[in-house]
């Protein structure tokens, strides 16, 4: 059984046969075979069997909170498989319904459930994903731009405004449209107007000044009016008229398992369970979550024991790290004056290497404590070409910390370049790539393991485009200087997402902005001196392109070398360099418009904003990942985007969307996805995707204040009744 699924969850397997017979008796012609550790039965309502609705089994009896969710088949049948031994609260949720009363149940016994038809559409809409409610938001008409307010940098055009509301501003932390945001809580206070209420709301809590500044970037007065109008109409009874479709086809085969982890004040950024290059690393092992601005912990889930622990992430003990602010503009309606975030390491992203070690991008020192090997005069080859710490070239930000599960210790790897998102290369040296501040940086982990000399193991380069078209790196002009026919040109963009291509030696990254784009860097034989970059802007106002979009966020490169990125315009986009027809260098290469034909855009599912906007969908998509090894079961190389406003992962299978919705609790919001194959011979039970809830405000999720974030495992059965 351990090989098939997590141990400790076996119930009375010897009773399976008799239980199955009982189930058959109870369900009549709709027999639902179950094992001793399953709960199964039929869901019916006053209208008959309910197909494509969710059955939720939740328990608090395990070391941490545990939820498993499945979907009914076309005859309303369901099986919640392989449950740990406990008593569960079981209920039905679905579109067109309101939640059924919770029923207490134990595995091994059949359980038919009665779904409750929603009394009216408004009641049904309470369970819709946030993006359906957000589709009621009226984005300012194109004629209103540019917004004439000081500091309204995102008010230059409607597209930039959408970018800021979606992936670069509000929704990079919040799931706009959830109940917490579409309503004004009474605890916020009494106000003369909804505009005043929103002005107060965005200036709440320890991050209030940041949120308020975001509003300023949109054009404060216009943005407040927009949000106030939205919540006013909802308070007056407006609701989304378009109902989300119930799960169909493979969407009904999904099994979702969730574990509470960390303190409810702590939010997560990234979650990792295995080596993305080889997802059989660390089978049935821990899952690691990294907190960003909320704590200095690495939180570790043991999905076998259904428990979690934490370790403290260290920093250089000599470093004078400066903690963030100690006051707030106004009390939080949830936490009052309590400063709930307490950290200095500002962890962001993490990856697992071939040895099972967890590499975290965290802050370990300040720019003032930059190692000598980064600076001018160092023998490091990159420092000779591009020394850090002079001429305004940073040297601060984050570096690496590496957790070894064997020793339980964390070591600091001090990088000269700032780290951010990170990913391992496919080379024999197991090089890890990251970067920031206009630099791409790497650590040769083979050299590091052999020498324990971070200064020797690392390098970095700026991004330089071959604008003189001679096919090699030359002296270069700076980003703000005109192209020089005798030189190349440096571009000031930094990688946001980063991924080495499995198909060749190139390293790709996304860069934010409007319209933003992708950069491909070929390191060459001696990267500090040979690395060359190509830049490909997302086609926007580009007549030669097949579709228009803007503003990438996360990205990945699939096994064919095709780069994928999510766009604030409401798309998942691919860029296939093999489609490029013309030369990719030359005097206009730094403008990034040499290959619009390489782009293909796929509109993400769900509703759009009303009116004629530059958005294709309301959903916000933070990151994407390609399932190179079929960890989920929908096929190799399937690109999967996070549906941050739709509470889902969105898999693009042969050009069609498969929506992996998390219906309970409402509010699922991921910033990373990765796969792990625990046992390649165990079918669906031996594989799945891992991620976590990563919105900054777990108290906005269903369950409210006190509900922690969750680690989450997605598995795809061959059919809805597989057990």
């Amino acid at each position: 059984m351990r090989k098939l699924f997590y141990p400790g969850i076996c119930g009375a397997a010897v009773l399976a046969l008799s239980v199955t017979m009982m189930g058959a008796r109870q369900a009549g012609g709709n027999a639902v075979p179950i094992d001793g550790d399953d709960i199964g039965g039929v869901v019916t309502s006053s209208k008959g069997p309910e197909a494509g609705v969710w059955v939720v089994a939740e328990t608090k009896e395990l070391p941490t909170g545990f939820i498993r969710v499945v979907v009914t088949d076309d005859r309303g049948r369901y099986v919640v498989p392989d449950l740990p031994k406990a008593t569960y609260q079981v209920f039905v949720r679905g579109y067109g319904l309101v939640d059924s009363p919770k029923v207490q149940a134990t595995p091994g016994k059949p359980l038919n459930l009665t779904a409750v038809i929603a009394p009216d559409p408004r009641a049904a809409a309470e369970y819709y994903p946030a993006n359906y409610w957000l589709s009621l938001l009226k984005i300012p008409d194109k004629s209103e731009f540019p917004i004439q307010e000081q500091g309204a940098t995102a008010g230059r055009s409607q597209g930039e405004f959408l970018k800021q509301v979606k992936t670069d501003g509000c929704m990079s932390c919040h799931q706009l449209g959830n109940k917490a945001t579409r309503e004004i809580p009474p605890s916020l206070g009494k106000f003369d107007s909804s505009v005043a209420a929103w002005a107060r709301r965005v200036a709440s809590g320890h991050d209030g000044s940041q949120m308020d500044n975001q509003m300023g970037q949109l054009g404060r007065q216009r943005a407040l009016k927009m949000f106030a109008d939205w919540t006013d109409r909802i308070a007056a009874g407006e609701y989304p008229k378009e109902a989300p479709p119930r799960p169909q086809g493979p969407e009904r085969n999904l099994v979702i398992t969730q574990w509470d982890w960390a303190d409810p004040r702590e939010y997560f950024h990234d979650v990792i369970a295995s080596d993305k290059r080889n997802p059989t690393v660390m089978p049935y092992g821990p899952v690691y979550g990294l907190h960003e601005n909320s704590s200095d912990h690495l939180t570790i889930l043991d999905p076998v024991k259904n428990s979690w622990t934490q370790v403290d992430i260290p920093h250089n003990p000599q470093a004078q790290l400066n903690p963030p602010g100690g006051a707030m503009p106004n009390p939080s309606p949830y936490w009052g004056q309590e400063i709930i975030w307490n950290q200095v390491t500002s962890g962001h992203s993490n990856e697992i290497d071939q040895k099972g070690r967890v590499w975290n991008t965290t802050r370990t020192r300040t720019a003032a404590e930059l190692p000598a090997y980064c600076k001018e005069g160092s023998s490091n080859p990159s420092a000779k070409v591009y020394p850090i710490g002079g001429g305004g070239r940073g040297g601060g930000g984050r570096q690496y910390t590496v957790y070894d599960p064997k020793t339980k210790k964390i070591e600091i790897v001090d990088t000269c370049f700032s780290t951010f998102h990170l990913n391992f290369d496919n080379d024999p040296d197991n090089t890890i790539w990251s970067g920031g501040g206009g630099l791409v940086g790497w650590v040769n982990t083979k050299v590091l393991d052999e020498t324990h000399d971070a200064g020797k193991a690392q390098g970095w380069v700026p991004l330089i485009v071959d604008t003189n078209g001679n096919g090699k790196r030359d002296a270069y002009v700076e980003p703000n200087e005109p192209v020089d026919p005798a030189k190349d040109k440096r571009i000031g963009s930094s990688f946001y997402g980063v991924m080495p291509s499995p198909a060749d030696n190139s390293v790709w990254g996304s860069f934010l902005g409007f319209p933003g784009g992708l950069v491909r860097m070929d390191p060459g034989a001696n990267p500090p001196e040979t690395a060359m970059a190509e830049i490909y802007m997302v086609p926007w106002n580009e007549p030669k392109a097949s579709a228009q979009g803007f503003s990438p966020r996360g990205m990945d490169v699939d096994r064919d070398g095709v780069a994928w990125t999510v766009l604030a315009s409401g798309h998942l986009a691919s860029f296939d360099r093999r489609k490029c027809q013309g030369p990719l260098n030359g005097p206009t290469a730094a403008e990034g418009k040499l290959c619009p034909e390489g782009w293909t855009l796929y509109t993400v599912p769900g509703p759009n904003y009303p009116g004629n906007t530059d958005a294709a969908a309301t959903d916000s998509n933070y990151y994407n990942w390609s399932d190179k090894f079929n960890s989920l079961g929908l096929g190799e190389n399937v690109p999967i985007a996070t549906g941050n406003d739709s509470g889902a992962l969105l898999a693009l299978v042969n050009g069609k969307w498969v929506v992996l919705r998390v219906p309970y609790p409402l509010g699922f919001y991921a910033k990373s996805v990765n796969g792990r194959i625990d046992d390649p011979k165990a079918g669906w039970k031996g594989r799945g995707l891992w991620t976590g809830w990563s919105n900054r405000n777990p108290w906005h999720n269903e369950g409210g204040k006190g509900k922690s974030s969750m680690a989450i495992h997605f598995q795809m059965r061959p059919d809805p009744l597989a057990k």
Binding site: D168, D207, A367, G392, G394, N480, G492, F514, I535
Partner: protein, 133 residues
């Protein structure tokens, strides 16, 4: 290091361009609020509420702010050292706080959200930090 960096968008490519100059017009402004202990205390309170989220409790900068980091901007600078890229006079600091630093306004304008008097108090507090060193 008070490096207030602007990031400009040119030809669709983010180009970093450090501006290391003051504001001669702003430099002419006279601080109407004396740097009394009361003013500095009021400025400190305001600073902790509005500014410390980016510049840190002790104003030494280096806080990693995702909305800046995401866009490739430099992180908020140290306000306690001797470097003032946008000018070290009271009037120049006042103007930076009031109007922000364009074009991307990672340093946001506080005009309209706090009074001029409150900004001058913050100026007095910020200047007091470098005097303490």
């Amino acid at each position: 290091m008070l490096v207030l960096v602007t990031v400009c968008l040119t030809a669709g490519v983010i180009a970093r361009q450090a501006t290391a100059k003051g504001d001669p017009e702003a430099a002419k402004m006279k601080n109407p609020i004396a740097a009394t202990p009361e003013s500095i205390a009021a400025g400190q309170k305001q600073y902790q509420t509005l500014c410390a989220g980016c510049h840190g409790k002790d104003a030494k900068g280096g806080i990693t702010i995702s909305v800046i980091e995401d866009r490739g901007g430099n992180q908020p600078p140290d306000l306690t050292d001797e470097k003032w890229d946008h000018g070290s006079s009271d009037g120049e600091i006042f103007t930076v706080v009031k109007k922000g630093i364009g074009p991307d306004f990672f340093m946001a304008p506080w005009d309209g959200r706090v009074s001029d008097e409150e900004i001058w108090n913050m100026v007095n507090y910020i200047k007091s930090l470098s005097r303490q060193k």
